[in-house]
C-alpha cells in the first residue's frame, strides 16, 4: 500500500489502473466535492442533499435510497473508460485544473455500499447501495468514501 501511495504522475496511475484492475477512479474539477454534487433544485438532474436523483433509486418520499444494481455514483476501472470523461473535463476546464480521485475497489468502501460492474459499459462501475438506507446515511457514507480517496493533483496532460 505504501508503495502505491507514492505514485507521482498520471502515467503511474494509468499503469496502475491497467495492471491491477482493482482501482475505481473519477475525475473532479478542483474545488468540487469528489462524491457529492452542488445543490440543484429542479429537473431530472436535481439533487437531494448533494446526491443526484439520477444516480440512485429513491423511495416515493425521497427519504430512502433503495438497492439497484444499475444505479450508483459513476467510477471508471480502466483507462479507456476514464480517458473520455477526463478529456471532456480537460477540454472545457481550460482555467480550472482537473484532479483524479481514486479508491481501492473494496478496502475503502463502508458497509452498505459496493462497486458493481456496469453490464452495459465495460470499464465502468456503479458505487451502488446494497441495502435500504436513509438519505442522510448515504450522504455520510459518500463523505467517508471521499475522505478515503487518494488524489492525483492536476491529473497530468498526456492521455493518449
Amino acid at each position: 500500500m505504501s508503495e502505491l501511495l507514492q505514485l507521482k504522475c498520471l502515467s503511474d496511475v494509468k499503469k496502475l489502473i491497467s495492471d491491477i484492475q482493482t482501482y475505481r477512479a473519477r475525475p473532479v474539477i478542483r474545488g468540487k466535492h469528489p462524491t457529492l454534487y452542488p445543490e440543484r433544485l429542479e429537473g431530472k438532474y436535481r439533487t437531494i442533499k448533494g446526491v443526484r436523483i439520477c444516480d440512485y433509486q429513491f423511495s416515493a418520499d425521497e427519504k430512502w435510497v433503495l438497492p439497484n444494481s444499475r444505479m450508483g455514483l459513476s467510477f471508471s476501472s480502466t483507462w479507456d473508460n476514464l480517458q473520455f470523461v477526463y478529456s471532456m473535463f480537460k477540454k472545457r476546464s481550460k482555467k480550472k485544473p482537473v484532479d483524479i480521485y481514486w479508491v481501492l475497489s473494496e478496502a475503502d468502501i463502508p458497509p452498505g455500499l459496493k462497486f458493481i460492474a456496469d453490464k452495459e459499459n465495460s470499464g465502468h462501475y456503479f458505487l451502488a447501495v446494497t441495502e435500504n438506507m436513509h438519505i442522510d446515511q448515504l450522504v455520510r457514507k459518500l463523505e467517508m468514501v471521499a475522505h478515503r480517496m487518494s488524489v492525483m493533483k492536476g491529473g497530468g496532460n498526456v492521455l493518449w
Partner: protein
C-alpha cells in the same frame, strides 16, 4: 432514434445545443438513428462541439437548463455516447474523433 435512458438529462442538453448551435443535421440523426460511419463521425464531432459550448456558456454565465454551470453533466454525456457507440459498432469512430479533438 437515439434516446439516452440511463441519464435522461443528456437528451435535454443535446437538444438544447442542437438549437443553439443550429445543427438540424444532428436533429435528423437523433430522429433516425446513426446508420453509418459518416453519421457516427458527424455526431461525434458535434458532441465535442457541444463540450466546447458548455465551456463557453459556463465562462459567460449563460443559463442553460437552469444553471450556468453544467460541467457536472460531462461524465454523463461521455457515458451515454460511449455506450451508444459501442452498441452501434461505431466505438472506433468515437475514439478516433475524440483523440483528434484532444490534440
Amino acid at each position: 432514434m437515439v434516446k439516452f435512458e440511463r441519464y435522461p438529462h443528456v437528451n435535454d442538453i443535446i437538444n438544447h445545443y442542437i438549437s443553439s448551435l443550429e445543427r438540424s443535421d444532428i436533429k435528423d440523426i437523433i430522429k433516425d438513428g446513426i446508420k453509418d460511419k459518416d453519421q457516427a463521425e458527424i455526431f461525434s464531432r458535434f458532441i465535442w462541439d457541444m463540450v466546447e459550448a458548455i465551456n463557453e456558456d459556463e465562462e459567460n454565465n449563460v443559463i442553460v437548463m437552469g444553471s450556468s454551470d453544467n460541467t457536472e453533466m460531462l461524465p454523463d454525456i461521455s457515458y451515454e455516447v460511449t455506450k451508444l457507440m459501442k452498441s452501434k459498432g461505431f466505438y472506433s469512430v468515437w475514439e478516433s474523433v475524440s483523440k483528434d479533438e484532444m490534440k
